[in-house]
């Protein structure tokens, strides 16, 4: 009964907040109540996540030792987490390079996709002419152009950034187009009746009205970017976590590869977090209660 109540509490935290003391004073009390209370707060849920991850890693460590699994096959958590600490400068350097590549590719993607979406959704001829091309390019696996880009630009972070750009460009474009098209025509009448010029109409009405669509496109774009950047660095870079993992692979340096994996996950987490913060900033109404 206790744990289930605790779970309910997480889901309807705000509403049940006032009943919490009476529950905690109930006869079940003790540890279960303490866990339930922990689940209610953010710090509590973070702590529980940490505990379960630690437990999993501990099990892994124990199994690896118990069955004497060689490090070159599956490294122990202590191996690669130790590596993460001892080689932190190397790993952090590559993580920063990867992050810069993501930012560059993603920023370029948004900066090209949004104006293009506006142009396509405003000019009918452009849509009929360009849309089939865009659909084709969207279907095409983006990493295919890697070798071509390498010939054009040489191996380096630039090529990785361009691949990231291609990967996150399409979701942003498609959603931004949908967003611009979904703007009610009568909103345009209202802006005209206020005497708004073309720029004001765009900046104060059309762009913000399309923003929820653009942001949801950007959310998909970020996921694609953090996913794509590693692959792009596998094939076309001499910097970044993908490159580091590739290099470690050729030396059979399993702990470093796993450390790179953890670092890549941290970078992905960071960018998704930043995107959530951005979303809250752009759409405050979606996050404030009734």
């Amino acid at each position: 009964m206790g744990p289930i109540m605790g779970m309910n509490r997480t889901m309807t935290e705000e509403r049940t907040a006032e009943y919490r003391p009476s529950l905690d004073n109930g006869r079940e009390g003790g540890l279960l109540a303490a866990i339930g209370q922990l689940r209610g707060s953010f710090a509590g849920s973070a702590l529980i996540a940490l505990i379960s991850i630690a437990a999993l890693l501990g099990l892994w460590e124990w199994l690896a030792i118990a069955f004497d699994v060689p490090t070159w096959l599956v490294p122990k958590p202590s191996d690669f987490l130790g590596r993460l600490v001892s080689d932190w400068q190397l790993i952090a350097g590559h993580a920063v390079a990867t992050s810069i590549t993501i930012v560059e590719g993603f920023a370029l993607g948004v900066l090209v996709a949004v104006p293009l979406a506006l142009a396509i959704s405003s000019i009918g001829a452009l849509e009929r002419g360009l849309y089939p091309v865009i659909v084709f390019l969207n279907i095409m696996p983006k990493t295919v152009v890697g070798p071509i880009l390498i010939i054009w630009f040489g191996i380096g972070p630039l090529v990785a950034a361009l691949i990231v750009f291609l990967m996150c460009f399409f979701p942003v474009l498609v959603d931004a187009m949908a967003g611009f098209k979904a703007v009610d025509r009568r909103l345009f009448y209202i802006s005209r009746s206020m005497g708004a010029g073309a720029w004001q109409s765009f900046a104060k009405f059309r762009l913000p009205a399309a923003m929820p669509h653009i942001v949801s496109g950007m959310k998909i774009g970020v996921v694609k970017a953090v996913e794509g950047v590693i692959i792009a660095e596998f094939i076309a870079s001499n910097k970044g976590l993908g490159f580091m993992i590739m290099q470690a692979s050729s030396f059979m340096d399993m702990p470093l590869m796993f450390a790179g994996l953890v670092a890549a996950a941290i970078v992905a987490l960071l960018f998704n977090g930043l995107m959530s913060v951005f979303e809250r900033q752009m759409m405050p109404w979606a996050h404030t209660g009734r």
């Binding site: 009610d184 009568r186 909103l187 009448y189 209202i190 802006s191 005209r192 009746s193 206020m194 005497g195 708004a196 004001q200 104060k204 009405f205 913000p208 009205a209 923003m211 929820p212 752009m282 759409m283 405050p284 109404w285 979606a286 404030t288 209660g289 009734r290």
Partner: protein, 279 residues
């Protein structure tokens, strides 16, 4: 009674005094029509119709859906050019969208990402009007429209009726000379509709803007208007003009007036004759 009320109500007198309160405009339309497409595909959406609306008059346009009521509103505001005919506002021929206007549509069309007050203040931002003065006017309108406390709420956090009230505040905050409303209460429930109708009437009695009110509700048309123009089915033409001679402010339950039933009956009969109703 009206005069007494506007004297005793401080917010009402502030509303009237701030910004010199522009008077209602006259609207004069001659033979306006709207035709979409050309040649064989040409489709006549409206008219030709004539309109003659006096300054400060409250005129309703009632008709079946698709008869061109909304098109009329767009032509009168200059947001769409008429295919034939011409529109004069205060004696000046209309060549581009007039800005001395507030528009309310059936959907609130508020911007999701702005709070209620900021939605209203958009009028000030875009028109470059005096901020302090417009803020005061907005505060008065929020007070008058029962929106106190909703200033910092986002539209999604407001009820349908509240949103539409914010939309009305936005249409009036810059003190326009005319108010164009396209089925503004169409999406509201009956109780909210009755209340908001009364609130609009009280505001109008104080400010005397010229109002062109488009509706398909006989109750709203008779309950609010000085004059009801009845339109035919598409392409809409004005088939009857009914002056409404009822005292103001009009009650929540219009059935109190035997005349109301007479007016309603008259409109029903016109609609039956036009084939809008087939019983």
């Amino acid at each position: 009674m009206t005069a007494v009320q506007s004297e005793t109500n401080p917010s009402a007198s502030a509303l009237a005094s701030s910004g010199g309160s522009s008077k209602g405009a006259s609207i004069h339309a001659k033979g306006i029509s709207k035709i979409y497409g050309s040649g064989e595909n040409a489709f006549r959406a409206l008219g030709p119709i004539d309109l003659d609306i006096k300054p400060g008059e409250f005129v309703s346009l009632i008709g079946p859906s698709g008869c061109g009521k909304s098109t009329t509103l767009l032509l009168v505001s200059g947001l769409e050019p008429p295919s034939e005919g011409s529109v004069e506002v205060d004696g000046m021929p209309l060549t581009r969208p007039i800005s001395e206007v507030g528009i309310v549509f059936q959907d609130h069309l508020l911007l999701d990402f702005r709070t209620a007050l900021k939605n209203v203040m958009l009028q000030q931002e875009i028109r470059g009007l005096d901020k302090a003065e417009l803020r005061e006017r907005a505060a008065n309108l929020f007070d008058r429209l029962g929106l106190k406390g909703a200033e910092d709420r986002y539209p999604r956090q407001l009820s349908g009726g509240m949103r539409q009230r914010v939309s009305i505040a936005r249409a009036l905050v810059h003190d326009p000379s005319m108010l164009l409303m396209d089925e503004p209460f169409g999406a509201l429930d009956a109780i909210t509709r009755t209340q908001i109708r009364h609130d609009l009437e009280m505001l109008w009695l104080e400010t005397r803007k010229t109002v062109l009110f488009i509706t398909h509700s006989i109750e709203e048309a008779v309950g609010l208007s000085d004059r009801v123009l009845v339109m035919s089915t598409s392409p809409g033409r004005i088939v009857e003009e009914i002056p409404i001679d009822l005292p103001r402010p009009r009650p929540a339950h219009l059935g109190e007036y035997p005349e109301f039933s007479r007016y309603a009956q008259q409109i029903y009969e016109i609609f039956s004759k036009l084939g809008v109703y087939r019983f």
